[in-house]
Structure formats: structure tokens, C-alpha cells
Amino acid sequence: MNSAIRIRGLRYRYPDGTQALDGVDFDLQPGESVALFGANGSGKTTFVLHLNGLLRGEGSVEICGLPLSDETLEQIRSKVGVVFQDSDEQLFMPTVLEDVAFGPLNLGLAPSDALARARAVLDRVGMGHALDRPPYHLSAGEKKRVAIAGVLAMEPEILVLDEPTTFLDPPARRDLLALLRSLPQAKVLVTHDADLARALTTRAMFFDRGRIAGQGDVIEVIQRFHWEYS
């Protein structure tokens, strides 16, 4: 069986000369969940932007057996759903329903099918009551749910979550955790939140200046790098 993600020797340098990734190897099996830890600016977000070809560095990136290239880009973007840290950047259509239908329409689904899929996914994330609301008027927790719905509507095999609990209050964080636990997809979780990582993942990797400084069992990695708030 193909790995969900297989990356070898990934390097990326920003135009200003910053070496953001410096030889990263990474594997993720189907259905597996892994947490990415590391200080701000250590390369975690740059790394996840490579998973669906938003950034293209040196090295090889394979998603579900498909090598990342111009020819496979569309297929890969339908397989890797990225939930960005700031939901406001992800919600750009005038209503919640249209926003969630945006991805399926781009995949070529007929409008009626895309809207039906969007409604079903919004029901699943508990936002079925907000179909016609503008996303800008939702709470942070609701925006995050809609952002996740927008990604789930594309039926991805891999979910990439960049700091999913940012801006969320405790109840919204609890609801989000329950939702994410119920999703069967393989997950790459970028987070500073050790509790969230323990609850959702079994394995973790620690980024330091664009390299993997350590990896292994999530609890071991948290202890080894003292990755707790207290």
C-alpha cells in the first residue's frame, strides 16, 4: 500500500534568502495522525504548504503514490485538505453554503451535487443552521467548523490542520476536538498545544530551524523537548 505522504530531502529557501526547510524526510501512513511541533519560524507552516503544492521546494514529495508535479497538482489538491490557521483567510465566499460548495464546484461537480454535498458536510460539523449566513459574522469556533467543512467537502484523504485551536475558547476547542476525533482521514497537525496533540495523534515530529530535530511517540517528544506551557 502507498504511503499517504512520502517526502525525501525537502529543502526550501524564501526569496529573501531564509532557509526555511533544510532536508526534511517525512512519512505518513493512511489513517495515521502526526503532530508537528517547533518554535515559531521553525518551518512547520512552510512544510505543510508543500503538502499540496502551494510551495514547491527541492526534493521529492509524493502524495498517495502520486509524485507532486504540474500534471498531478489538481489531483493532489483534492487529496490533501489544508485547514489554515486563520479561518478569515479561508472563508471568502458571500455565504457559508457557497463557501463550502466552492471546492466541490472546482472539482467539477454539478452545482446541485456540490450544494447537496456542502449541506451534508455542514450538517456533519454542526453548522447546518448557518447555510445562508455570511462567514464574516460567525464566531471563531463557527468559522473554524465552516473552514473544516469546506475542506471535508472535497473528500480529502489527508487533513492538514495548521494551529486549529488558535482563537478558540474552551467550549469551542472541546467541540473541535470531538469533531476532529470523529474524522477518519490521516492528519497532519501543526500545533503548540500538547494536550491537543496527545488527544489526536500518536506520533510527533519536532522542527528546529528547518530540520527534524526529533521524532517518535507523541508523549516522548513532548517530554524530550519540554513542549508544555507549564
Binding site: L49, N52, L54, E74, R77, S78, G81, V82, F84, D86, D88, E89, Q90, F92, P94, T95, L97, E98, A101, F102, G103, L105, N106, L107, P111, A114, L115, D132, P134, Y136, G150, V151, M154
Partner: protein
């Protein structure tokens, strides 16, 4: 935000909202041509165009004051030319210039306020308007939200740190703060717009907004276009 309200209006329910965007675009173009070619002396015709538009606004169940206020935003631009014309001694032509720009603005606004963005850009696309131009319209419209929200956050941050400066220095402080805000706003908006675009690409955006609710061109749409054509022509030729 103005555009947020227009977005909400465009999702209303009325016989005008229900018309196919292509039909409304055709009617708009007919009306704009009629207005722009009406001679300055035909003041009765301008009144008739205004009456037609007021009737359409009522039919669309939209607030006439709100639409007229927004349409009046074009007046400062046309006022320069109207004033020049007035100074040259042709007051009737100056008045007609202001009337034409206001009525054209009101007609265009009514079209946008009764047609969701994806609908009217799809109509432009069906009329073979260059894709690049349509994309620019769509991105400008989307990024208006981004920039307006960013500006509001920065204004609040600036106000909350303004404190109680002496009144005589406040004017200069406001001016220099505003100048700084504009510079930072540009940089931050660019970053945020980049983030929005990345999020769109991540969800399969391929350079075209696909409308979620395409509507077939119906017989009532053809009747609507015909009625608008007949009405505009009648006003243009008979009054």
C-alpha cells in the same frame, strides 16, 4: 461595510432578483446607452428614466435612499466636468452631465444589488468579456472585504493607543498616524490577500469562479429584456 450590504441585497427575493443575470445585464446596457445618448435638452426624459429606476428599485424591494446615496458617490467625479461646463456658460449641459452620471450609477448599482457577484460575472463571461478582466473584478471585490476589515482593526488599534493628547496636536497626530496606517495597511493587505489566494488554490481554484446556482434563460427573461428595451427606446425617442 457598503459592499457587505450590497452583497446582502443581492441575495434578496423579488421578481427582479429572479431574472437571469444575462437578461439584467442586457437591460442595463440598453438603459445605459439610452441615458448616455439622451440630449441635454430632454429633461423630461431624465425624469422618466429616474421614475423607471425608482419603480425597479421598489419592485426589487430595496431601500431607494440607500441605493441613491451610494449612486451619488459618482457625483464628485462628474461634478468637475459639470462645473467646467457650467462655467463655460452651458448650464443645461452641466445639469445633464450630473444627471447622466447619477442615473447610470443608480442603474449599475441596481443591477449589482439584485444579482450576486457569481451571477453577474458569469453573465459577463457568457458575453465573452475577457477572462482576465472578470478575474480582476472578482478579486477586487473579494479583497475589498480583506482590506476593509484590516483597516478597521488597525484603526481600532490606533484609537486605543491615542490616549489624551492635547487638542492642538491631535490634528497632526491623526494625519501622521493615518499616513502610517495606509503604508502598513498596504503591506498587511498584500500578505492577507496572498493567504486568501493560497486558500483558494488549496480548494482547487483554477482561475474561474463556478456559480453555485446557474439559472436557465427563461421566457420571462426574454419578456423582461424586451420590456426594458421598449421602455428605454420610448423614453429616448418620444420625450
Amino acid at each position: 461595510m457598503h459592499h457587505l450590504r450590497i452583497d446582502r441585497w443581492s441575495r434578496g427575493s423579488s421578481s427582479l432578483h429572479d431574472r437571469d443575470p444575462r437578461a439584467k445585464l442586457a437591460a442595463l446596457l440598453v438603459l445605459l446607452v439610452a441615458i448616455s445618448t439622451t440630449p441635454a435638452s430632454a429633461q423630461l426624459a431624465f425624469a422618466a428614466y429616474a421614475a423607471l429606476l425608482v419603480l425597479a428599485v421598489q419592485q426589487a424591494r430595496l431601500p431607494i435612499a440607500g441605493l441613491a446615496g451610494r449612486a451619488a458617490l459618482v457625483l464628485p467625479f462628474s461634478a468637475t466636468f459639470a462645473l467646467l461646463t457650467w462655467w463655460s456658460g452651458d448650464s443645461l449641459r452641466a445639469l445633464a452631465l450630473a444627471e447622466k452620471s447619477f442615473l447610470s450609477g443608480l442603474a449599475a448599482l441596481l443591477f449589482v444589488a439584485t444579482t450576486p457577484l457569481t451571477g453577474w460575472t458569469a453573465a459577463l463571461e457568457s458575453w465573452r468579456v475577457p477572462r482576465m478582466l472578470i478575474l480582476v473584478i472578482q478579486f477586487v471585490y473579494r479583497y475589498l472585504f480583506v482590506i476593509a476589515e484590516q483597516a478597521q482593526r488597525m484603526r481600532w488599534a490606533a484609537l486605543s493607543r491615542r490616549g489624551s493628547r492635547p487638542r492642538f496636536r491631535r490634528g497632526w497626530f491623526d494625519f501622521s498616524a493615518a499616513a502610517g496606517l495606509v503604508g502598513v495597511l498596504f503591506a498587511r493587505s498584500w500578505q492577507r490577500a496572498d493567504g486568501v489566494y493560497n486558500a483558494m488554490l488549496a480548494r482547487g481554484f483554477r482561475g474561474r469562479f463556478v456559480p453555485a446556482t446557474p439559472a436557465p434563460f427563461r421566457g420571462t427573461d426574454a419578456v423582461f429584456v424586451s420590456a426594458c428595451l421598449a421602455g428605454s427606446l420610448a423614453i429616448r425617442l418620444l420625450l
